[in-house]
Each structure stands twice: as C-alpha cells, then as structure tokens.
Symmetry: C2
Subunit: 109 residues, 2 copies
DNA sequence: GTATTATTTCGATATATGTCGAAATCTCAA
DNA sequence: TTGAGATTTCGACATATATCGAAATAATAC
C-alpha cells in the first residue's frame, strides 16, 4: 500500500516499452484481470497465473513467454515467485499505481 | 472536452509504443510542459512547439524528429498543424485523458 | 518567376526485438 | 538417484526500429 513514485523518465520508457508489444500487453492484461477477480481476497498471490497457463492463454511458446515475463518483471509491472515446480506471476500493484499517477499528473488541471 | 474512449488493445499498444523510445518520450514531455504552461490561455495551439525547436530541444536531426512526430501523431498523442512555413506541434488532450483513464481502470477498486 | 527556410521523404545502415526449438536448469516425487 | 514436469537459457533467424544525410517538397519573401 506504500506509494511508490516514478522518479526518472528512463523508468517510464522501460514501462511503456514493456507494454508496447501486443503479446506482452495481453499477458499483462491477463494478469490484471486475475488481480481484479481477486479483489476480495487477502493475498495478492491468489489467482495469479502460472507461466504455463499464460503460454496457453496467449498461444505463444514457453521460451517467448518467459522472455516477455522477464521484460515485464524488469519494468516492475509484475511479480514472479516460485511455487514448487512452477512460477506464480501476478501484477505489481505499486508500479501500476505509480504509472497511473504519472499519467494523471500529465493532464492539465 | 468530449470524452474519448480507448476501445481496443491495439490502440493501447500503439500509444505505448509511441512513448517507448527515449527521444520520442522527451519530445512528448516537452510538448506536455508547454501545454501545462498554457493552462490559462484559450487556445490549445498557444505555446505549441515548432518542429525545428523540438529538434534543438532533443538534439536530434530534423529527419529523425519528423519520423518521431509522425509516430506520436499516428498514436493520437499529438496534433500537428501547418502555420505558414512551419508546423505547430501540440498535445492531443483527448488521448492523454483517455490513456489516463485506461490506466486508472486497471487499478483494483 | 527565383531564393530561402522549414519540413518530409528516401535510401542506407546499425542495432534491437520477437520468435522458435533444442538444450540446460530447477523442483518435486517415486 | 533417477525421472518427469515446468521454466529458462541459448543460439539462430527474420523483422522492426532509430538514426543520419541527401534529395524532394512546401511555403514564403524578394
């Protein structure tokens, strides 16, 4: 719940770049929808997607999805956590909030 | 002042792609700052930048700036209008508002 | 008209990106 | 410890992008 800020434009560029590929955006929006479904739950981790499930959703090979997930993760847009054999992917709410605020600030009062 | 909506993800991808290059983002943010300065004026056109001035701001060749401006324009992020010999560039407020709203909607209630 | 200024288009080039399949790595279960 | 499943890493390749300078175009001034 702490408020993270976007401090430099390089960070913004990286976030926009991460969301500028159609498949990567689809992956991200899939995770966002899972996150929304989960609005009553306690943990952010609930209703996260496994990497393999995301491959099926977007119909892209595991190696490519892995690459896209790394980009999203480096941009701070998602979190990845090992759960046994698999890896849980979920939205990083802080970055989404920071990005949303950045764009709100762009607007004229 | 009318409220434009972002209807498909292809549109979102295009907007993010337009903002995913460092120089293109700098050009856009330069126009945004001009737009902010102008908050008391009547016309959106006031305090717009000419193409040549943008070239100086970002220290990139005219041909490259022209290319970036076309991308920003195609994404709907800026408006370009001929003013005599030169061309006036300014923020397209509707798209910025729509993008801002899109990102606000991504957030969990 | 011709010259000047502003911008775009064109062609070239270097670099970055998206994609896949194969091989490697990691985790768990038997 | 060996095997199976999940994911990543590693080439390889095709396509896209960023960039420039030169040439073309557009608008104005003379």
């Amino acid at each position: 719940m702490s408020k993270s800020q976007i401090t430099n434009t390089g960070q913004v560029t990286e976030i926009f770049k991460a969301l500028s590929n159609p498949n990567r955006l689809r992956i991200f929006l899939t995770l966002v929808s899972a996150w929304h479904m989960n609005s009553g739950c306690i943990s952010d981790q609930e209703l996260a997607y496994y990497v393999g499930d995301l491959c099926e959703c977007v119909e892209v090979s595991p190696s490519t999805v892995s690459h896209h997930l790394r980009e999203l993760s480096h941009a701070g847009l998602i979190k990845m956590e090992r759960c046994g054999q698999r890896i849980c992917c979920s939205v990083n709410s802080e970055t989404v909030a920071a990005l949303s605020e950045f764009l709100t600030c762009l607007q004229r009062k």
